[in-house]
Symmetry: C3
């Protein structure tokens, strides 16, 4: 069994942002030389997500509005977590979008459907945060 | 390390539908011959889910009502994604229910609790869509 | 390839409760002797979760309030599942928080960011329920 490990760093310009990291993961998969296995990609922070969905700007806007409706940032004081913090909502948004994805690796490639793209979802940005890529297989 | 890969095709009668795919996954696991490992089952499309929950019709009805409340289909024009599309809500429903499950394989079987069943969750159906089963182990 | 399997039992005092199980998983990882691989931790029941977030009491309170808002327990009769049951909301809360986590194992340790902790999330407690830990690798 082979394994491959890499941490990626992100520092978003905006508080909330979605970044398509599929090309980076594909490069790392090639670098790993793994042909058959599983590829885990996860946020290493608890106010961000890694998820798979569509790379379409309108949808990303809709996600942002929707998440803000389900887990509003304001009023900040409505959350007990927000004593010294202001990011309780980001912890919740991350639960809806998920921490991680596990992708199949088949014949050396991410085994994806036609529209599947991997995103880093930031909900409490403007600082350096990490994503982990771990690939195991043969 | 062994690996096993299979794509499954679905074409639901209804726009939204839950299909118990546990027997199919169990058959594929037997076919793989893998005794110890991990079994990934994921939707290959971004408006459907694979998830584990209870095979109970009342609950499935409740899930449908609940998802429609959290991410309503109407008004279609309220979503920016819906220019030429009408399925923005399906992208959101899928995030709540999840893209994938990873199940343990122990002694050649899915290592499940008493009520765990794997479902294909369709939120934008009436067309051919795929699910991927990838099993790795020994 | 090595594999390691262990079931953990929980019986919460309260109906809903979050328990930090990171130290237990770390002990099992050491016991497994696996240095590089993947560690799956999943609820074996369909009204509980395993998730990764922050070990902060205020946030756990916020999660509880928030989940109750998104998937309220009352009125019990509003759910079709609740004929003989009263836990339909627990099935929904579990979908938001997730069934499982897959963590990377690097150099014999859980490869985690600074605040990542694994929780058992109970939404229909006061009875014996299980969590599964499955580790594969080398």
């Amino acid at each position: 069994m082979k394994s491959f490990t890499r941490e990626l760093w992100f520092n978003t310009q905006k508080e909330r942002e979605f970044i398509n990291i599929t090309p980076i993961v594909e490069d790392l998969l090639r670098e790993s030389g793994i042909q058959e296995g599983l590829c885990l990609v996860n946020a290493m922070h608890i106010t961000s997500s890694v998820f798979i969905n569509d790379d379409e700007g309108g949808l990303h806007h809709d996600f942002d509005v929707w998440l803000e409706k389900l887990a509003p940032h304001e009023p900040v004081s409505s959350y007990r977590h927000n004593r010294g913090e202001t990011n309780a909502d980001a912890h919740m948004k991350r639960q809806i979008m998920g921490r991680e994805v596990v992708a199949a690796v088949t014949q050396g490639a991410l085994h994806f459907g036609p529209w599947e793209q991997i995103f880093y979802g930031e909900f409490d940005g403007r600082r350096r945060k990490r994503v982990l890529v771990k690939i195991i297989g043969e």
